[in-house]
Structure formats: structure tokens, C-alpha cells
Symmetry: D2
Subunit: 358 residues, 4 copies
């Protein structure tokens, strides 16, 4: 989208023929379309430095995150990885060590923090203009799993509800982690304990498809996180509200280019993407003039672009700009895996509060 990244190779299926076909449709050179990620890592690493790929993007189900990411890093490639980071918390910790040792960039695609007005929200909250933060409400309601889709041929539903591929969590891993990450990103706070009601609503399902979580943050604030995949009629309306002593913010994906800034004693302000009054971090992540809406793909692309700018800087031996470094990394990934472990534990527990301390 921004002419910063070119797709040069890929392993698109564990079936070599299918992979070759997919590569062809993407206009790749046949010799750089591989039958497995292992082959790709090995063969690309053998290419001269200025010919080989610079980074790899891993978009497999959760149980296939750790191994290819580790292998890529060990072969000297930067990594972009889908969330949640790994199959379980142990893998995440192991991967953390690999990343730190590698000196490579690592990006976890928590898409929603790529929206310019989410970045603007964080800037305003961190600026202190609202005073101490007291309340966080974050929610991610979906309805698409209202039926037992995994009994049909729905591939997306199948792996997401399969504990051997998704891990211990369903909705909480798939969308709960997004909401959790969004809340910590915008507020700059860390969750210290939680109390969860975790449900399997649709009969026959193996993993949670619904949950609600009470949260406590490290500054004393409290919060509520809602994530469900059985709110029939809802699409992907992730939404966050953060309140401080003097005011707060509200943002939702269904109107992503708008940030509501609320005040105790004056009119709510409607901050808009693409305008001249935004913070430099937000402005850096806008592409179009105000009123020409940007969306999900642009938010996603912002992470890729910032990641690519950092990779390019490293290649050029330069220091990346501060705003380029504003993409989710392994710290976010670890927090997410911890959340998954604790929220599922809480769902099964009779104790009210479960500590998030590591």
C-alpha cells in the first residue's frame, strides 16, 4: 500500500503444488515459492544478503506460530507474527528469549492499535490532560459464531474453536486479547488482577465463545472487558472508553477516523483523522485528507509500514524514528499470552480475583 514492502517469496501451503499455484497468482518467481516454511527459511538464508527476503510474515493458526517464528529469527530474518503470539505462555517466554538474542525486529499484528485515532487517544491519555485514569471499558462484540459453524466446512471457525490449534482459549484468545491489548496500549496501564466469567454458549463447542472480565490496573483504576462471538447481529465493533478525573476518550472501529474527547464541564470534541491538529504520531499514520475515510487495511498497513521503516533503517545502519517504533512487539505478545492463561484460569475458579503478576 505504501510501496515500502515487496513480496518476494513465500510458502503458502504445506502442499507444494498448492503453494506453487498460490505463488504464481501472486506473480512470484517460481524458484522462490516453497513447499514448507522450513525450506523457505533455509533456502532464503542461502541467498546473497541483498537478494534474500528481509523479513517474514507468519499468518498460520496459533499452534504454528512458535516454530516458524523461531526458525526465522535464528536464520536472521525479522518477523511479523499474527496474534496471539504463541500456542501457550511457555512458548511465548521461549520466543521472547529468541527475539531478544536475535537483535531482529518483531511485530505482532494487533491491528487495532494501528488506527491513527487510537494512537491519538494514547497520546492524549498519556499527556495527562484527563488527570489520573479511573475507568476503562473495552469491548469486542461479534456474532459470527452464534451457530455451530465448526460442524460445517467453515475453516476459519474450525481452527479457532479447536483446542489443538487455538490453545486453551477461543474468543478470549481470538478477540479478547485484542481488547486487552487495546486497553493497555491506550491507557499506558498494566492489568494487575482480573475476575472472569467465561462461557461456552453454543452447544458442542470446545472453547469459550463468550466472556466478560473485571479488571484492576496498576494505578488503581478498574475496568471491564467484554468479548463475545455470540452477539448475533454484531460485526467487529471493537470499542474503548477511558475516563480520567477531568474527561476521557471514546473510540470504536465502526467509526475509526473519529475520536471523541469528553470533558466533565465542556462540550465533547470530535477529533478526526487527517486533520492538521493531530499529534505527530497520529499524523504519521494518516494517508488521506480529513473526511476521506481510512479503514482496517490501512491500520494493518500502518504496523507493516512502521515495521518496514525500522527494518530499512537497520539495513541502512540508521536509527529509527520514535513514531516508527510504535508497533506491537513481543512485550504485547507476552502480556496477551498471560491474559489468556489467567482469564481462562479465572473462568474456572471460585476465587474472585486472579493475579496477573507473572
Amino acid at each position: 500500500m505504501d510501496s515500502e514492502i515487496e513480496l518476494v517469496c513465500g510458502a503458502f501451503s504445506s502442499d507444494a503444488e498448492k503453494s506453487a499455484q498460490a505463488g504464481k497468482e501472486l506473480h512470484l518467481l517460481p524458484e522462490r515459492v516453497y513447499g514448507s516454511y522450513k525450506e523457505m527459511m533455509r533456502r532464503e538464508a542461502e541467498l546473497p544478503v541483498d537478494e534474500r527476503m528481509d523479513f517474514v510474515s507468519i499468518v498460520t493458526p496459533n499452534h504454528l506460530h512458535f516454530a516458524p517464528a523461531k526458525l526465522a529469527l535464528e536464520n536472521g530474518f525479522h518477523v511479523v507474527l499474527d496474534k496471539p503470539m504463541t500456542f501457550d505462555l511457555n512458548e511465548a517466554k521461549e520466543l521472547e528469549a529468541v527475539i531478544e538474542q536475535s537483535g531482529k525486529y518483531f511485530c505482532l499484528t494487533h491491528t487495532y492499535t494501528g488506527y491513527p485515532m487510537v494512537k491519538e487517544a494514547r497520546q492524549q491519555v498519556l499527556s495527562g490532560k484527563f488527570g489520573t485514569i479511573r475507568k476503562i471499558y473495552v469491548e469486542y462484540p461479534q456474532g459470527w459464531l452464534s451457530n455451530f459453524l465448526e460442524s460445517n466446512d467453515n475453516k476459519q471457525a474450525a481452527w479457532r474453536t479447536d483446542p489443538t490449534k487455538s490453545g486453551i482459549a477461543g474468543a478470549m484468545g481470538d478477540i479478547g486479547t485484542h481488547a486487552f491489548n487495546l486497553a493497555e496500549y491506550v491507557s499506558g496501564l498494566k492489568t494487575t488482577k482480573l475476575c472472569a466469567d467465561i462461557n461456552i454458549v453454543v452447544e458442542g463447542r470446545k472453547l469459550d465463545d463468550d466472556g466478560a472480565v473485571l479488571l484492576k490496573y496498576n494505578n488503581g483504576a478498574s475496568g471491564v472487558l467484554l468479548a463475545t462471538q455470540v452477539a448475533a447481529g454484531e460485526e467487529n465493533n471493537i470499542k474503548i472508553r477511558v475516563y480520567g478525573e477531568k474527561g476521557g476518550i471514546e473510540w470504536k472501529q465502526e467509526d475509526p477516523n473519529t475520536l471523541l474527547v469528553k470533558w466533565l464541564d465542556k462540550p465533547t470534541e470530535v477529533w478526526r483523522a487527517g486533520t492538521g491538529y493531530l499529534s505527530s504520531v497520529a499524523a504519521h499514520n494518516c494517508r488521506t485528507p480529513a473526511g476521506h475515510p481510512e479503514g482496517y487495511l490501512e491500520a494493518f498497513a500502518n504496523h507493516y509500514r512502521n515495521f518496514a521503516l525500522c527494518v530499512q533503517a537497520q539495513l541502512a545502519g540508521e536509527k529509527p524514528k520514535a513514531e516508527w517504533l510504535d508497533f506491537p512487539g513481543y512485550e504485547d505478545g507476552l502480556r496477551g499470552m498471560l491474559f489468556i492463561e489467567k482469564v481462562i484460569e479465572s473462568g474456572k475458579s471460585d476465587a474472585k480475583w486472579i493475579s496477573m503478576e507473572v
Copy 2:
């Protein structure tokens, strides 16, 4: 508003002079403006049946609900009472007995169930068109108690945060009960257990000003209730979402004449007050053509009007129509007092779930 009710007498202050002055401004006959509710009940009861007041409306702080309501009923007057019903659950149970014995009408002013589109929501949910109800989200965010207003001369803030006047709950009693009632009204379900995070956010405050509650309902559905008075920048945006297997509804006070009806696999529908396609119950509670908005006062007036129609019917020895009986009564009041007791208990408890069984 509907020419169904005429104010004929009153006790407007425990200071007889102030009461007299208030009565004068309301154009009442001086001999029917009283210095205390006791005087009013006694003197009105002495008037001939066709001259005395038909019912009394009690709008005092919570600790002054029980005694005047009881006295009114015992003197043969129907009663309209502000919520929460009483100072504590014991009073509520005692009042229940008095009401049942009296044969008089009793209305508790849970204003929000007076909105026509809330009534429409209930009709649609109860019709079964959405299948079994699975999720309920209800919230009542306010911001007006973000500061320690009770230290100033703010009368509204003062009694609401004073345990000797409000009872054991602050926000939960004042607005949490509204949200609780709205959820049970629209869904037709009963809460069976709850888990609450109850907070005093503003330093020095004596009662809760914030809380979040996980809920379980008698059909297996789960829910979340948010009520806060420290969401700086929020006004009175009580909102409810209910989801069943096939779809659900969304309503919020900031756009009270609209009911969103959502479906798993077809477009959301925007149902509007004053239109020709509403249920008879909703239609009965509309006054203006579609697009001419009705608001809070009309919702309030709907309860009064329906109550008055029932009272008139009783006076005329007639049977009230079904839609007239659709105003909140003592069952709602008892549920609300039970909620207050249990939610505060839960807030202090280390156990996760507190039963709502009586």
C-alpha cells in the same frame, strides 16, 4: 401532560411556611397545602371521597420512602414512589405486605421502562423472534460525581452519597437499580447470581460511586451491568443490548425514539417511535408522529398516565386494560432492593458468585 391528573394538594417541605409558599406557586388552594406528610394523609382522608386526592406521589430521599408510603396506603390512597423502593430490604418486604393488603395501586418510577421503544424491545424479545436470549449488556454511565461535590452545597449530591439517607448503596442504588430493572424488564428474565466490583473512586466519599457486575439469569443467559458516576463527560446514557440466538435489540436513552433490531444474517432494522408498525403496547405510549421526538418527561409521564388510567378504572369500577398495567410495581421494587443488598455484599466478598435467591 395528558390531562389525566390534576395536582390538588401537597406537602412540599417539613417547614410549613416553605410548603405553603411552594403550594402557592403551584396555584393550589392554601387549605390543601400541608406542613407534613402525616398531616396531609390525615386531613385528606377526612375529606369526602370525591374531593380528596386519589393518589399521592412520594419524591423524598430513600430514607423517607417507607413511612409516608405505608401511611398513604393505610389511609386508602394509591401510591407513586421514587426508586429505590425503600431504605433497605426489610422495609421493602414490609411495604410489600402493606400494598398487597391495601388493594391499592402502587407505581415505582423506574422512568426508563416508560419509553415506548423500551416497551417495544420487551415485546419483541418476549415474542421469541430472537430465539433463546443469551447475552444482556446494560450500562448506566454518568460523570457528574467525578468531583467531591458533597463537600459543596450540592443537595442532590449530598443525600445521594450519605448512608443515612441513601442506604447501603450509592451509585448502585441510584442508577444501578435502574439498569438492573431495565434488563429484567426487557428480557423478561430473572437474575440468579452476580459478581460485583464495587468502588469508591472519589476520595472522601462514603458510598460507592462506581461498579461493574457480572450476572447470571434464570434461563442460563449471562450479562454485564455497568453503573458509574465518575465517567467524566458522560451524562445519563443508560443503554441496553440483548442478544438471542438469531438476533437482538439495542436501545439507549440518548436516542430514545429508536430501537435497533439486529439480525445474524440480515440488515439491522431501525424501529422508530410514532410509526404505524409498532406493537400496541408501544403505540399506546407514544404521543407524537414519528420524527417529532419524545423524551424523558414523556417516559415519566407514561408511568403516571398508565397508573392514573388504572386508578380511574378502579374508581369507575372497571377493569384496566392490559397496556395500562404496564408500569413498574412493588415486585420491581423488591427485586431492586434485593439487588442492592446482594451487589454490595458481593463487592465486599472474596467469593466469586453471590446468589440472588431470596
Copy 3:
């Protein structure tokens, strides 16, 4: 609604029996329910000053505005009259003279200028904060006359589309005048010329049901007025936008308690009814705390209340407050009748611009 006005008498039908029945339902004394407006004016005028009615409210079709209004004024009663003021411009001019001579208050019920946020809009525009006003867009789309309803037994449709009752205009008289009045009220400007496209869309209809008007104002600003009754699916969403050099305002009836204040180079502000930051004129016309919506009936009641406060002041020999005088009067009525005459003339003309000069 505000306990400022009591209904004491009435003539509810030209059929004396029907009128008596209507009066009974309104709990009026039988001797003060009249069979005609003439009888009412005469008999009320014969009552002692402190017993007779103070003012009369005339809510008949347009062809029955002039005569009762004139008679009322001549008998010493203040008058509240439905818009448009009269059947034609000549009657309006004659009535103007009667009003001026009478020394009585006259209120024309242009409901929409009774909304507090419309009053706030006017205050802000007149304050000069937006610089010189350049553009006005006002629209009133309805859909209810999309079919040939007057062929059925629809009384509202029948008289409004009947030239012997409505006058020379249909939609332009019924709702176009509201839009016209709203624009002049909020902007403080006067229309100097106009160019109209006036249509009869539904076959068989005798008066216009649709129109669009280009407008020029006395400060050089231009505007557009849309009024239609055949926009199938629209309710009563009258809306106005006014733009000056630096910013502007937007208000619409479907969200009447919100005023958007827009700026060239900073975030839009969401001003809300019932808040503490409003102008005194707007605040005077609010009844509920912010977030508890007020609607059409309250806007209507604001005109009545302000009118009643002025009448009471006159009765008490006192001077009315400035904000009480802010209700539409005969100047608005005359402007509206002039608009009707000119807009219909323009609709038939091949000339582009028609002057609004009197």
C-alpha cells in the same frame, strides 16, 4: 407541563354536542365549553376580568386563522396561533394591524425555534464567533404524503392539500415556512430573493408536495431550502446548517438536544442541552439534566411558557424578561406569508430570481 397555564374553556367543534363532549373529557366546566369561537369570545369577555380566560390558542386549519384571531384580539385576549399565520398575505397584513393596535401578545407556533439548542445556535451565530455568515442549508424532508392519502379518509392530509383550506401552498406552507423561519431565526438574516422549483409529485394532488428553493440573504449569504412531503421513509427531520468564515453550526430535530459547532481548524464540538455551559437563553428553555432528552412537546411548551410568562407579567404590570420574549410573533408570521406568496410565484415563473422585498 410547567404549571404556568390552565385550560379553563374551549370551543372544540362547530358541532356544539361534539364540543361539549370534548370539553367533558378535558374536565372543563360545562358552562365554559362553547359551540363556536364567536360564542366563546363573547361570553368569556363578559366574565369578570379575573375569571375570564387570559389568552386563546387557535389550532384550526389555515382558512380559519384570521377571523378568530382578530375577534380574540378585539375582545382583549392574547392569542397563540398555528402557522402559517393566515390564509393569504393580505389577511396577514390586516391581522398585523389588529395586533399592533391591541397591545396584546401574539405567538405563532413555529415549534422548532422552541428547542433550546436552536436557541443556543442563534445565540452563537449572532455572537459573531463564526465571522460573517456565508451559507445556510435548511431542509425539512417528510414522506407521509408519498401516496394520494387525501382520497382516503385522512383528515390531516385532506385539509393540507385543499387550496380552499390551506391557501395557495401545500408543502411550502405546511413545512417550508418552518424551514424558512428556522433559517432566518438562527442566522438573524433576512431573505432578499429566491428561486424555487415547486412540484406536485403525486398525481391528482391540488397543491405542491415538494420544492427546493435557492435563497439570497441581506448580508450577501446564499442558502438552499428543501421541503418535501414525498421523500418516502423520512419522518420529520428538519435540519439546519449555517456556515460563517471560521465555522458554523448544525442542528437537526432527530437529535434535538445536540448542537454541533464546527470549526475550520479545530475539532467539532458537541454542545448538549441541560449542561452548565449554555447561554442563559438556551438554559432558560431546558427542563431536565443533560442526557435526559427533551423533545417536541417541550419545544412547543417553551413557546407557550414564554408567552404565558409575558402575559402574566403584563397582568402583574411588570416588564417581561428578555428571554421570555423569545417566541415567534407576527413579524415571523408576515415573513412566512410573504415567503409562501413569493415561493409559489417563483415556482410558476421563468425568471430566475424573485425579489422578497415587500
Copy 4:
């Protein structure tokens, strides 16, 4: 965005060095970065068929549309061209002939008809479900030219307000043509006559920055088009409403993934991009699941993608699919140039209606 198009060459400035620099930043081969469009056309045409560019995209100011487009077509390249099509109507007619003779594809980037929900709107209107269309309201309010920006160093403002570069129209050419095109696209109707109020609001400006147009369509419907660049506080909120006998549609760019479908006698429906119930034409132009918003760049890319699919089909000797052909072409371009000529003529005329007949 869709991996259908690769940038292979370019002429990015009339200054060869600047062009070379721009090409470098876009990772182009130096030998395919040219110092002028003439050089590019000639040199690319000399390359072997499978190496040369397939089509050219022309994004220069209006006065530099005709010559490069003609040259490209004559050298056998397909063309994507910015709107308005040419500097004046004569050039447009000449270009039409060139295109028809060339047998090449021609796309005019009226971005807004690339939105999936605009395509859905057209499908629904053309299906006849709303009955005969009666009213069209289309508007494009901007505020960015509220000040005399062309006096500063604002390049965008400078050429757009310069008659030697823009042609006879300012706002009407820049955004009025978009609104005009959108109305004819969604309704499937043709404008037959118009009456325009055209203004230069900002002192010193050479071309119109504001206008309003009354429209008549070939089926008897009437419409209104508003386009302004001095509505301070507005961004790019192009919006269209179309009403038929039974209902209609509303779409606006600020919420581009939503199409409101309104009905005379049932609830408004909220149709959403990415859902399963859309027409095949709309569905073909969606990229993300419902609720993940798409925006301006995706709408723009839809035209490019459909154009590229047609070009690929032609290269492969195949017939393009019907939905691929749904991008704006030279017929739209000609209509736009005709609109510009007539609307400016009308602005200067004392006659009310100006015919759009060619």
C-alpha cells in the same frame, strides 16, 4: 493493494532530475523513469509488448489531461485519468473519438462510485424495488477553501482556483462533477435541465467556490445538488439520498460502509459492507469482513482493480465479467464536462432553466 497492478515506469515531473528522484523512491528501474510524458509514451511503446507498461495513470491538473491521454491511447496504452475529463467540453468530445477508435480501456477516477455500498445503492435503485424515482438530493460540502489559500504556497489550492489550469469551473469542476456523477450513477437517470446559483465567496478568488443546483431528470424526477468549498468545518462529506414511490436510499462518505434503505411504512434497514446479503456487484468490491471498515483508498482501488481485470482479460483474449466493467468511463467524463459547461452558463444566466441536451 490487490496485487493486480505493478508500477513499472513513470514520468513524475517535467524536471528530469526530480522525476528520477521520485522514481528512485518508488524503487523503479532508472531507465524507466522519464523526464516527460511524451518521452515515456514513445520509449515504452518501443519496448517489447510483454515488457512495456500496460496502461498509464494520468494525475495532472485539468489542463494537462487531454494531450497525454490522447498520446497514450494513440500509442496503444489503456488510460486511467483524473476527473474532470478535460479542460473543456471540446477536448472531451475529441478525446471520446480517440478512445472509441483506440479500442483501449479508459477509466475516469470518480472515486465515490467505487465504494461497495454505492454500488449496492445503484443495484437496489435499478431493481425497481422503490418504484419510480422522484427525488435526488446530492451534496458535497467542503470547507478547506474558506480562506484565500491560493495567496499562500498551497499548490492544491493554487491550480484548482486558476482558470488557466482548472478550466471555467472551480468547485463545480472539482467536486460538483463528483456529486453530479454520483447522482446519475446511483439513480440510472440523466439530467435534462438545471438551474444554478454559482458563487465566488472568498474575495479575490477567480473561480467559483460554492454553488447550488436545481435539477430535472429524464423520468420527471427533480433533484438538488449542493457543492461548496467554503462550508467551514466540513471535510469531504459527499452524501446522496434518492427517493422513489415506496422508499429510498441514503449514503454518505463519512460512514461509507453503511447504506440506509428507507421505507414508507416499515423500519429503515442498515445494509453493511462485507456482509453475506449484498448484491454480487457490491460483494465483488468488498475486501474485508463486515465491521472491518474499508475506506477511500479501497474505493479508489476498486476502480483500478476492475480496470486492471478488464485489461488483463483483453491481454488474455478473454471477455471481462460484467462487474469488472463497472468503472467510470468516457461517457461519465463527457457528462461531467457538459455539466460544467451548463452549470457555469446557468450561474451567469437570468433564465431559470438551462437545458442539458447536447
